[in-house]
């Protein structure tokens, strides 16, 4: 196998292997610890979905969590058993209230809904860059949040959507996230992905070379939306419930910071960032309840977020290119290999 192909394979296999390892840990973990591993895996899915757009295009979007939200609610609402739906969610549109779909179907639907919304939103917005793009995508997040929270005909509104089947066991989480990884990797290696990255480095030059910046961004944005929606499906089936606040500002901050801490411009960065921050976050979550590390570590509630936010700020100030330096996994170079 030629070195280039081997390198590509490694760039996919190492992150994938890491996800599988965490998945295995999840399946052997105790019931109470399992949730931490599952959280980490689903976090990888969400952050990779965000990376597909933000990392490849260099355009900062605060709106990707909207697609996670619609995916989660779509998958959730349509998998609550029909018998229970009319009593818990009386105001739903009949088409939503009278039908229930299966597990895999709900995940595919979540992806479809996320992708479709991203396409609609992206059509006008992808012409924007920089601060304007950031604010516009943030506005999308706000609108999505507001509609999901207040419009009781499409969902539970301000109340918790519960009774969702908890089908995201370690296997589903791992397989689902691997799917997201493979798709993201394939896109990144494809001509479309390379063209988009060219616009990231030098938009003017890329345009001069004939690349349609708007279209490439739209492709990535739509794909990112679909993958984000899919992750939302994984999320809702992991928690068995969902509220609008769980897919709003805090998740936006945490996932974006995971990406930047890991390294904004690489898939490896997305995976590393998600896993590293999840690990710290979970550990501190336990520490808030009192955890045994040789001695008992008990910290006040709220420390978790303080430390996570503080660590992120520190990494960003001291090593802005992130833990991975924004690069993919590299094979150690042999001395005699030619350049």
């Amino acid at each position: 196998m030629n070195p280039r192909a081997l390198e590509s394979l490694v760039q996919l296999l190492v992150p994938a292997g890491l996800v599988v390892a965490v998945g295995l840990a999840a399946s052997f973990a105790s019931r109470s610890n399992e949730i931490h591993f599952l959280n980490a895996i689903v976090a990888v899915a969400v952050v990779v979905a965000i990376y597909v757009f933000v990392g490849n295009s260099g355009v900062l979007s605060f709106g990707q969590i909207s697609f996670v939200a619609v995916g989660a609610f779509a998958a959730g609402v349509l998998t609550v058993p029909t018998a229970l739906k009319s009593s818990v969610l009386p105001n739903l549109f009949p088409v939503l209230r009278d039908h229930t779909i299966g597990n895999v179907a709900s995940l595919l639907l979540a992806a479809a809904v996320g992708g479709l919304l991203a396409l609609l939103v992206g059509l006008p917005l992808m012409r924007l860059s920089g601060l304007a793009a950031g604010i516009a995508t943030f506005a999308v997040l706000e609108i999505t949040h507001n509609l999901l929270r207040e419009w009781t005909r499409i969902g539970p509104g301000a109340t918790t959507l519960s009774l969702v089947p908890e089908t995201t066991e370690p296997l589903q989480a791992t397989v689902g996230t691997l799917v997201v990884l493979v798709v993201a990797f394939a896109y990144g290696r494809s001509r479309l992905g390379r063209m988009l990255r060219a616009t990231r480095e030098d938009p003017a030059a890329a345009q001069a070379a004939g690349i349609d910046v708007h279209r490439q961004r739209l492709w990535a944005f739509t794909l990112s939306g679909a993958l984000a929606g899919f992750s939302g499906g994984l999320l809702v089936h992991m928690l068995g419930s969902i509220t609008t606040e769980q897919v709003y500002l805090e998740l936006t901050f945490v996932t974006l910071a995971m990406l930047v801490v890991g390294g904004l411009t690489s898939l490896w960065g997305a995976v590393v960032g998600a896993l590293a921050v999840s690990a710290v976050d979970s550990f501190l979550g336990e520490a808030e309840q009192g955890v045994d590390v040789g001695f008992t570590l008990d910290v006040p509630t709220g420390t978790r977020l303080v430390v996570v936010a503080g660590l992120m700020a520190l990494v960003l100030i001291l090593r802005p290119s992130g833990l991975t330096g924004g690069r993919e996994v590299r094979l150690p170079r042999r001395r005699e290999a030619a350049a």
Partner: protein, 303 residues
């Protein structure tokens, strides 16, 4: 067709009041952006800190409370300047945005820990004088504090405009905002200009904290967060690269929010955020450099 046909005078006054407060915050954000090219997501946390100080000192005499508020806010502002703003000066815009975002969450989380020590979230801030009372002005019922807010905003903005236009320091600040490198070549002291701009933004944050705690006495870790988000959006929509367009943007979004709120039928007011943000998206698509920016103006963004 006059605006009064759609909304009543009451709504208009409240909308101007809201716009006034947002304008003050917009200036605070715009000043720091001008000299540092940095969007301070943590601005709301400065207001929050001032509000908590007012809440925790509720039993003190008024003068002491106000002084404490300014001291705490300005100290925090200085700390932010040294720990976050200066190190970030050479960072990429994406990193700057996310870092100040992180700092905002950091401060909010610290506040939560401090607040919860008495077992409950939220502290009440005592009012000032009779400012919460409603008075009737020309047939319109308006709270005193709204009138004070409008007056304070007018005075503050007027003073700031004078400072920028007529003093040497103001000239240096404007030059730094337009072309920092050339300004330094001419001898403008970067440190002085930055510190002063940041100081001014802190002063404004303290003023906003005072006004907001009168209007909404319950202080929580999320205090002023929603307002900051809306103001940030307004500033970018108005045009962040010039101070007056940023301020106008902040005022406009506050005013628009107030008017839309009054115009929406009661059962639909829950959808106010969607309406406002949809408007924001529309404006940004049509005028990405900002609503009030010159159409052909080169945006001095590094983003």
């Amino acid at each position: 067709m006059s605006l009064l046909a759609v909304v009543d005078a009451q709504t208009l006054v409240d909308a101007v009041g809201l716009g006034a407060v947002y304008a003050l915050m917009a200036v605070g954000i715009g000043l720091v952006f001008g000299v540092l090219r940095l969007v301070n997501f943590a601005y709301g946390q400065l207001v929050m800190a001032g509000a908590y100080t007012l809440a925790f000192t509720s039993s003190w005499p008024l003068g002491a409370r106000l002084l404490a508020c300014f001291v705490v806010v300005l100290a925090l502002t200085r700390a932010l300047e040294w720990a976050v703003f200066r190190p970030l000066r050479t960072a990429s815009p994406a990193v700057m945005l996310v870092t100040t975002f992180a700092v905002a969450f950091l401060l909010q989380s610290i506040a939560r820990i401090l607040d919860v020590r008495d077992g409950t979230i939220g502290e009440a801030a005592a009012s000032i004088g009779g400012l919460r009372q409603v008075v009737s002005v020309g047939g319109v019922d308006v709270r005193r504090v709204t009138l004070v807010a409008i007056a304070v905003a007018a005075v503050a903005l007027g003073l700031l405009a004078l400072l920028l236009a007529r003093t040497t320091l103001g000239l240096h600040m404007r030059a730094a905002a337009a072309d920092f490198q050339t300004a330094r070549l001419l001898g403008v002291r970067a440190n002085v200009v930055i510190t002063f701009a940041v100081f001014l933004s802190g002063v404004l944050a303290a003023i906003v904290a005072i006004i907001l705690t009168i209007q909404a006495p319950l202080v929580t870790p999320g205090f002023a967060l929603q307002e900051t988000i809306v103001v940030l959006v307004g500033v970018v929509v108005g045009g962040i690269d010039r101070l007056w367009t940023a301020t106008l943007g902040g005022f406009s979004i506050g005013f628009a929010t107030g008017v839309i709120n009054g115009a929406l039928p009661t059962e639909h007011t829950v959808f106010l955020p969607s309406a406002v943000f949809a408007l924001v998206v529309l404006v940004l698509i049509l005028r990405p450099a900002g609503l009030f920016a010159r159409p052909r103006a080169a945006v001095v963004e590094r983003v």
